[in-house]
Symmetry: D2
Subunit: 197 residues, 4 copies
Amino acid sequence: MYSSSVENLIKLFSKFPTIGHRTAARFVFYLISLNNQEIEELIKAIEDIKKVKICPLCFNHFEGEKELCEICTNPSRDKSLICVIEKETDLESIEKIKKYRGFYFVLGGTVSMLKKDDINKLRIKELEQRIKNHPEIQEIILALNPTTEGEATSLYLERILKPLNKKITRLGRGLSTGGELEYADEQTLRDALDGRK
Amino acid sequence: MYSSSVENLIKLFSKFPTIGHRTAARFVFYLISLNNQEIEELIKAIEDIKKVKICPLCFNHFEGEKELCEICTNPSRDKSLICVIEKETDLESIEKIKKYRGFYFVLGGTVSMLKKDDINKLRIKELEQRIKNHPEIQEIILALNPTTEGEATSLYLERILKPLNKKITRLGRGLSTGGELEYADEQTLRDALDGRK
Amino acid sequence: MYSSSVENLIKLFSKFPTIGHRTAARFVFYLISLNNQEIEELIKAIEDIKKVKICPLCFNHFEGEKELCEICTNPSRDKSLICVIEKETDLESIEKIKKYRGFYFVLGGTVSMLKKDDINKLRIKELEQRIKNHPEIQEIILALNPTTEGEATSLYLERILKPLNKKITRLGRGLSTGGELEYADEQTLRDALDGRK
Amino acid sequence: MYSSSVENLIKLFSKFPTIGHRTAARFVFYLISLNNQEIEELIKAIEDIKKVKICPLCFNHFEGEKELCEICTNPSRDKSLICVIEKETDLESIEKIKKYRGFYFVLGGTVSMLKKDDINKLRIKELEQRIKNHPEIQEIILALNPTTEGEATSLYLERILKPLNKKITRLGRGLSTGGELEYADEQTLRDALDGRK
């Protein structure tokens, strides 16, 4: 057994995503090896995270004095497009390719079984409201992962959003870079043949 | 050191694709554990492989009295489509999804560096001839893997086949089943956004 | 579906240890790519395997006119030692380190649950007989893998062989080359501390 | 690009052992999802780490008013044994098996090339001093990992400590639980045969 402060911090680090007890212990010993100034720097950086705000329009995080995030206040973005993603890192992935110029909406997760409790954790009401309040939106891109959960959630969203009479699209499916026909599942091959060009 | 017959067969099994010395040894001990009748059955099955013919039109393997393989002699297939694949197992993968009804052409490999020697190993002359001899072909689907080699080979084929004035397509690209935006490369994300529907 | 000869050989290759349908298919296409002389060479090598004999003393395989294998007929080996191994490749592994100069006995497997049917597949009667017939044996080394199955089988053998009043040993346990204390299980750490020197 | 506070914390988390940029980003978004009280709890726990002291005798960490750690002040431990380990988690691994009752010494690392700069980072002078100051020590167990670095460091320590005329041992080597002869390296097999019992 480690000493109580060590055990306590291991417990908190173990709650970090993907981190188990052993790695959490390595984190703590890493911190013990730091000098006080480095520890203070880390604490300060964690404090600063409290300044991070959530944009009430797209639910992405941002900092600063404004009410909305940088993307939502950018007048040069394409107002006719909204891209629904599961989580903030997906927004970052799409921004990085510098191809999409519309707006975003962070759904906050996906659901597998369409249980009511799970669905209520997603920002579905907020998404509906967002689209109703912005009649300039013409296309809703459901950019959820093509996993079982992502597909189930996309189907559910299509049903919910249908009455709003917008074009609803999903990301194109097919072979990914580096993929091989030999290992592709049948759906991917079908999509790849369908989407040939 | 194993005995000479064992070592000799290990050497031959080691040439099988993906098989190293250790697995080759396990194969030999597996054969030693078989009775004579089972060994004869295996030898007979290997002998029979010599009866397998290569179709002179699509270069797929086949058996029987006919000159051409079953697909090439099937009158209900769509004569306007030809699908170029790297190897026979890719043909099998596409047939399995029961979606494609055109013809095939087994290229026999892909090339990475476009070295003349490597290119000459592919059936490129034969592909050109096949298309020239069959004016009913309207679309050439280059169904090579979206790997570096597959892409380089597709580019090369497009250049070679352009003068024949046929529609040339490639398999659709995008996210594969089970894929995640977070781990997708930029090209795949671009393809997925482009190909949304 | 592949042609019947191809499917038939895929089926037989799929029975090879560790080989699934996809790899079996690659094996067949590899054979199709060989010329007739190469096929004949493979068939000849498989035929030759039928000449391999099993040594009635140690149950290792061997070739030649003699009744016993090369190790069992080697007068310079140490007659006081017999090493019981699970399978022939383990014998090869031990021979390779050129440290052990005694004799061997290939048990033919290990058992996990000590079911009578499983135990009967092992050469336990033959092992007892071997030791009874060779009173010069002074130490029986149970060189089975330190896996659950190997340990269960070693325990069983110890019980069976105890009445023969020979020294019975097992391979030393501890940290393996490249191992790390951090990832070692408790039993291995205990053995490593116990066996320090 | 994430906002500056987010990027700053990602940068700091990326310095944590084994953590890359992507996982560091997930950590930050995890923190953003926490409420202020949970953030404060984490900051408090990190602050507390500053109270952790290093024992001047064994260089393990500890907390409390005492000068020495709990193990070094435990009168029931065996004063004749000292176990040299690379890092604190190795001490923890050995304590967990409840078999060793002697004292410890945390070396602070291992060296691969015996470069002077690397060696100077280890607590070798302190180890010599510890042993000289405690004539009751009779056996020094070098419990470093049996990796290239660990072995090189053990050899070096043996040379340095030899003049002190103590028994110097290393952890026992052999097959680890679940290991297989077939995959064992030659040194491990040799150790396993040597150490049979």
